[in-house]
Subunit: 305 residues, 2 copies
């Protein structure tokens, strides 16, 4: 194993203009781990309830994901449901039942602690910190967060991200966290908070990688059809971090390889785009490394001049 | 001369979060011609009133723009004013006084008619057609349009664009014109309407060039500060078409050079980005070709992988 991922493993109910699924496997940790598993060996830290299906365990296991850190406890698995607007640019949460997630107290199995890569999915910053502290000496720590923690747990969040190497965040959250509308300014402000690598996700418009020495912008992939954007940002994170881990890359100032970092952003974009092609995690059931490589080449073709 | 541009020459009142200008030179034709003048020789077809300032004539003339087709008639010049939202993604029109523009009946000077390139700025489709018909045998005809003509003069617009080689349009208008939300689908539908080259402008997110054989996406330039986005789309069109004209390029099926077309999109993006750096056309007063080339290289650096 090489990459430890922590976050939610959940059941989701999703409605998009293409249809509706009452209950399917979801959660940030699930999407990150599945996407990363195409690049490197992954172990997850999460909690599920007694209702968690064997077939969902099997899916994760089939991708070689280490489930030693996946606790199963009495009660029900975290449940989220939402509905997307016609253009899929907005979504409304219909229900959030934390269930067993309310008492989540992540404990890392012994063999996780010495791993070099750690990706902290979007959960309470104090829990992200608790996981980070259980790791011995990770070479690279990255994480995600969301508007709720930025406004309601700001101090805790700032204390948490202070020693992260990399923050992955969407554009509106970057503005909220930094208080800067301009994204260059937002990234500068976030550098001061700790992370020296900031990846700003822009949904259908792609992503920007900011480093103190410069930035890299990739446009979003133009899908023929977006079935379900749920999990696209987490799949991006999984592809990005999975690639870094697979190459043994470091992001410390002066040691980051800018070309490899850009490639990681493309692999993140590739995984985010595949995620949207089917409901939930379905696209990852059949996806192959050859398809991933072909889409990487497509990114090259439609951006090169 | 090589490129004929038709459209509005106007006075604008603009308020952005950075300040307010009561009255300054504006209009689609002005922005297109100024931007294109850094690449090729341009002649304009437009109408102004008696209030049109000598210093504004002088600015256009200083860029070598042929003003033989700029009619001056009794009355006042077209006036538009608007105010931008805090994030500059929305603007509200405060006033539109067509003035002399209401009676605009474009007549091309004899020496314009044999020119190879024609760019029809956003005006009433019937006027765009009237200009097109006065040209002898242009090699390349492109134009812009807007939501108002798409909804209120749809048949006339479809008749007009039928023989254009290239349509430049923003994303929401492309969706409106085609009835397709997906931009790939929108471009396909527009190909069927006539133009085989469709450039979709996405504001701060950049632009997409669609051709039947494939597409090219460029992200928007990340400005330190956006002073005034007025005219950015027209400046894009001017840079794009100006570059094509300067290289003697053709867009007929099988004759378009895809590499040159991509370069034209980058030059369009470069000119759109410069336009936003100062109020109105001010940035074009001091801009140099060396600055344009340096920004072109920047686009290469921040998109390459």
């Amino acid at each position: 194993m090489s990459l430890v991922v922590v976050g939610s493993v959940a059941y989701d109910g999703v409605e998009t203009p293409h249809g509706r699924v009452e209950r399917m496997l979801g959660g940030a940790c699930t999407y990150i781990a599945l996407a990363a598993s195409f690049f490197t060996e992954v172990g997850i830290v999460a909690v599920v309830g007694e209702d968690f299906c064997q077939s969902d365990f099997d899916l994760l296991a089939s991708r070689g994901i280490d489930l030693a850190g996946l606790e199963r406890v009495p009660g029900k698995t975290f449940f989220w449901s939402g509905i997307y607007s016609h253009d899929m640019n907005d979504r409304t949460t219909l229900r959030t039942d934390l269930n067993v997630f309310a008492g989540f107290n992540p404990k890392l199995p012994q063999h996780y602690r010495s791993q070099p890569y750690l990706l902290l999915g979007n959960i309470q910053p104090a829990l992200q910190r608790a996981v980070r502290e259980q790791m011995l000496a990770p070479e690279l720590v990255g994480g995600d967060t969301m508007n709720y923690w930025i406004t309601d747990a700001r101090e805790e969040l700032l204390r948490t991200i202070r020693d992260w190497d990399c923050l992955l965040i969407n554009d509106s959250e970057a503005r909220q966290l930094s208080g800067q509308h301009n994204l260059r300014g937002a990234a500068q402000a976030i550098f001061e908070m700790g992370p020296r690598t900031v990846v700003i996700k822009r949904g259908e418009y792609g992503a920007i990688l900011f480093r103190p020495e410069g930035h890299f912008i990739v446009p979003g992939y133009l899908l023929e059809d977006v079935f379900d954007p749920t999990g696209a940002g987490d799949s991006f994170a999984g592809g990005f971090f999975g690639y870094l881990a697979s190459r043994g890359l470091d992001l410390k100032d002066g040691r980051a390889d800018p070309r490899e970092l850009r490639r990681a952003v493309i692999y993140g974009s590739v995984m985010g785009s595949f995620c949207c092609e089917k409901f939930g995690v379905d696209r990852f059931r059949t996806l192959t490394r050859a398809e991933i490589n072909a889409r990487y080449d497509e990114f090259k073709r439609f951006t090169e001049f």
